[in-house]
């Protein structure tokens, strides 16, 4: 299936940022008509390698060839023009522009300098039809879900006569059917002879679609392998560089007695809590030390529940009791006063402050709670930051680096640290493991278990049912913006039953278990 001559080679690539050595002497090659998975933990250098390839960054050392010719792109536009198209990890589109405008922005078909809007819309529709998407191309992109936006980004990339298509974690926000749809497209493109560089954290997906795997670790090259010759376990070992201690012990945890946990006064109890257009009124109790999983499809109202409980959006009505006393959660500041913390799923827009350093990002929530007149003494800051950099294994370990220089997974850990520093009583984690690698994922799952053992309540939102099942004491199921069921996580509960509940919404009789 692969040609003998690579369409793209990168040799001896090195790249450093102030305080960070992102890549060191990395080789990479890509053959026409193959899907090549680039694997590695957070901070291994995957995103940096792609940015070097597409000219977002200059290389410090090393050479890139395309079709045997040395190339050096000045930026993604030039790379795209040469046939190397990229869909970046975080969707880089303009949500206020229409779908069609997003697909053709910067290269609109023109007649005498005027944009031919009819042509733009017609071609956009044709392109989306190729992806089996039926969208109103004149509607603003922001009116569609993140998953659809991702597909539009891919449509934009494949419209250009691409020979190399780079997909940086395209599946992290897609559900199963959307992933299948994407893979169908990827196979189609591969059979047309396009070389696809695919970055993902989902191992199953790699084995489903990739022909070849290159593994990076800590900015260095581990090796290049044929997928058929690399068992899954060895892949994981190569990625994390040590034997994986599997998620033993965590399994036991979630099977603990729910009744015992739910004996006392609930930490937070809401009833008839809802917001028009976001989520139907629901009731939920969360006790100290309890992990409540929130399962449901993308767009089923999971995030909306989290935002209401944190006061990020204001509920239309309903009652809130904290520690049994009537209360309200109307603003984030108020929720934080009650001991609630919230890690948003959208870490770039709603999480990190890119300008500020790792240290400043970490102490932000605590400082906000204290008020600006009572700054946290610098020594105390350093202690806290040092503790969590070590505890969460944040790389690079220099807290004065701007947080934007960190990889996505490490930024996620910085956000976790921001809330752990405030010692919350209820921590809401919205997709904390999305788009991060298995090593960090395990670390975060273990952390959740430890925290709940220590008495912290956790509301855990994830698209991965296995993860929800592994960690939760009870699982609330969302469907079409309604909380349709709350299931105790006992022996009888498995992923199939949750799936059925999501699919049918018929387990209402078990609500308020």
């Amino acid at each position: 299936m692969t040609d003998s001559r690579p369409v793209l080679t990168m040799t001896g690539i090195s790249k450093s940022f102030p305080g960070v050595r992102a890549l060191h002497d990395v080789n990479f090659r890509l053959f026409p008509g193959e899907v090549h998975a680039l694997m590695g933990e957070n901070g291994a250098g995957k995103s940096t390698l792609i940015k070097v390839l597409t000219g977002v960054y200059d290389t410090d050392e090393g050479a890139i060839t395309l079709d045997g010719e040395p190339v050096s792109f000045s930026g993604p536009m030039q790379a795209t023009a040469a046939g190397v198209s990229t869909v970046f990890q975080e969707v880089n589109l303009c949500t206020n522009l229409s779908v069609a405008e997003n697909i053709f922005i910067g290269r609109e078909p023109r007649l005498l300098g005027a944009v031919r809007w009819g042509e733009v819309r017609r071609r956009a529709r044709a392109l989306l039809a190729r992806l089996d998407l039926d969208l109103d191309v004149s509607a603003p992109l922001g009116s569609y879900s993140l998953a659809i936006q991702q597909m539009v980004a891919i449509a934009r990339a494949i419209d250009i006569k691409a020979r190399v298509l780079i997909l940086d974690e395209p599946t992290s926000s897609l559900d199963a059917s959307e992933v299948a749809q994407l893979f169908r497209i990827m196979r189609q493109l591969r059979d047309e002879g396009i070389a696809i560089l695919f970055v993902t954290h989902f191992l199953d997906q790699v084995y489903e679609i990739a022909d070849r795997i290159t593994v990076l670790r800590n900015g260095g090259l581990v090796g290049e392998y044929l997928t058929t010759e690399l068992p899954q376990l060895s892949l994981v070992e190569k990625m994390i560089g040590k034997e994986l201690d599997v998620l033993e012990g965590i399994e036991e945890h979630s099977r603990r007695d729910l009744a015992a946990l739910e004996e006392g006064t609930p930490l937070v109890a809401v009833s008839n809590f809802g917001r028009a257009g976001a989520v139907e009124p629901f009731s939920l109790t969360i006790h100290a030390g309890e992990v409540v999983g929130l399962a449901g499809l993308l767009g089923s109202g999971r995030t909306e529940v989290a935002r209401l409980l944190f006061g990020a959006d204001r509920a239309d009505g309903g009652q809130v009791a904290v520690d049994g006393e009537a209360s309200s959660l109307r603003t984030p500041a108020q929720a934080i006063d009650h001991g609630v913390g919230f890690c948003s799923e959208n870490r770039r827009a709603e999480g990190i402050v890119a300008d500020l350093s790792v240290r400043e990002n970490m102490i932000l929530a605590m400082q906000a709670a204290r008020g600006w007149l009572r700054p946290i003494p610098r020594r105390r800051q350093d202690e806290l930051v040092d503790k969590y950099v070590k505890a969460l294994n944040i790389r690079p370990a220099d807290p004065e680096v701007p947080v934007r220089n960190l990889s996505g997974g490490n930024q996620q850990k910085v956000l976790l640290a921001r809330w752990l520093i405030t010692e919350p009583r209820l921590l809401i984690l919205d997709e904390p493991t999305r788009g991060i690698d298995i090593g960090a994922k395990t670390e975060i799952q273990k952390l959740v278990t430890q925290l709940s053992d220590g008495g912290m309540a956790v509301l855990f939102i994830s698209a991965e049912l296995e993860e929800v099942l592994r960690l939760s004491h009870k699982v609330a199921v969302m469907r079409d913006r309604q909380m349709v069921a709350q299931l105790a996580n006992d022996e009888s509960l498995d992923a199939d039953r949750i799936m059925q509940t999501i699919a049918s919404g018929s387990h209402r009789e078990e609500a308020d278990a």
């Binding site: 940022f17 102030p18 977002v56 960054y57 200059d58 410090d60 944190f310 990020a312 603003t331 984030p332 500041a333 929720a335 934080i336 919230f342 948003s344 827009a349 709603e350 999480g351 990190i352 402050v353 890119a354 300008d355 500020l356 400043e360 932000l364 929530a365 400082q367 906000a368 709670a369 204290r370 008020g371 600006w372 007149l373 009572r374 700054p375 946290i376 701007p402 934007r404 220089n405 921001r418």
Partner: protein
């Protein structure tokens, strides 16, 4: 070679390097043109000389720009500072002019307190429009920029109010420890603002709000209060600048006092390295920016550039300063230079840093 290179890069990479370099080049050019430019002499216990004049004359701009730095850092802008200068000056002068003993220190202090009080209220007005009602800062402060001139005219009843008050005049022209008092006032204000923002967590919180307002809210920051405070501080700085401007000429002109100072202040902030998009702010950079602008004005006079061309001259210098500071422009410039020599030489040249 490598060591020298990396030291060179560390130095040029410092955020204050380019503004400071520009200031240095300007002073050097002036000195070449007129060798006595930098000379300072002691007369009657006071220091005189062009550098002292530049410091003294830049004091009002430094004040206004300090407040502007905080506002811009929140992601906003304050266009009303010029009008606020006029209003504060008008109130102070009007009150003093109505008193029998204009030289009484008590009268002057009362006048300053009144004017400052009104300025704080007007700053709070800006703050409420932006932080509570949610009007875009450029529009919200445009209201007071326009209306404030009218207000100043109203206070002075359309006249130029001339006063004869030694204590008030001292704010602009007095001396202490051989140096003009205005320099100390600007310095004190700078230290005060720096302490207020950097000794507390206010600075970081302002930067956080300006850097990512949504994330800051979700981290529990009550951004409204912080933004409100920035506009109030900006108004207070403008009020003191207004005292200086009117004290310099012992008169209050509702039309002319502080005219266009908001634009100079914004320019000083930007030259100093604070992004108009908000986020990180640099008070020391702002001060250098204000000094650059005042040096430029002085240069125009010193070099006898005709009034007709002086604005154009200023514009050209400002464009050059901004270009030198823009990383994209520097990158393009050095890349072109790099690609010129044959490939063999490339390896020795420093690779430029593209900011992440």
């Amino acid at each position: 070679m490598n060591d020298t290179m990396s030291r060179y890069r560390t130095m040029t990479g410092h955020r204050l390097f380019w503004p400071a370099a520009v200031l240095f080049v300007m002073l050097a050019a002036n000195t070449i043109y007129r060798p006595g430019f930098l000379s300072i002499e002691l007369k009657d216990g006071h220091l005189y000389g062009t550098p002292i004049d530049i410091l003294r004359l830049s004091a009002p701009l430094i004040l206004v720009a300090l407040g502007m730095t905080l506002v811009i850092s929140t992601g906003g802008i304050d266009l009303s500072v010029g009008s606020l200068c006029a209003i504060s000056g008008a109130i102070a002068c009007m009150y003093i002019s109505k008193q029998p003993d204009q030289n009484s220190v008590g009268v002057v202090v009362t006048a300053l307190a009144m004017a400052m009080g009104v300025s704080l209220v007007l700053g709070a007005w800006n703050g409420v429009l932006v932080a509570v009602i949610g009007i875009q800062p450029i529009i919200a402060t445009l209201i007071l920029m326009v209306a404030g001139r009218g207000l100043a005219q109203l206070i002075t009843e359309g006249q130029i109010i001339t006063i004869n008050s030694e204590p008030y005049r001292a704010i602009g022209l007095g001396h202490a420890l051989t140096l003009p008092l205005a320099i100390f006032i600007a310095l004190a204000a700078a230290l005060l603002v720096a302490a207020f923002t950097r000794r507390t967590a206010l600075g970081m919180i302002i930067e956080s709000v300006g850097g990512n307002a949504v994330a800051s809210r979700l981290a529990g920051i009550r951004s409204g209060r912080v933004i409100f405070l920035a506009y109030v501080i900006s108004a207070a700085c403008a009020a003191v600048a207004g005292f200086m401007m009117t004290a310099n000429v012992s008169s209050a002109d509702g039309n002319a006092a502080g005219l266009w100072v908001e634009l100079d202040a914004i320019l000083a902030v930007v030259i100093g390295g604070t992004s108009l998009a908000g986020g990180r702010f640099f008070l020391s950079g702002t001060i250098i920016g204000a000094l650059i602008i005042q040096t430029l004005t002085t240069t125009v006079y010193a070099m006898d550039i005709s009034p007709q061309t002086s604005l154009l001259f200023k514009a050209v210098v400002v464009i050059a300063v901004c270009l030198i500071q823009a990383p994209a422009f520097r990158a393009r410039f050095s890349r072109r230079r790099r690609s010129a020599p044959p490939p063999a030489a490339i390896a020795d040249k420093p690779k430029e840093q593209v900011p992440a």
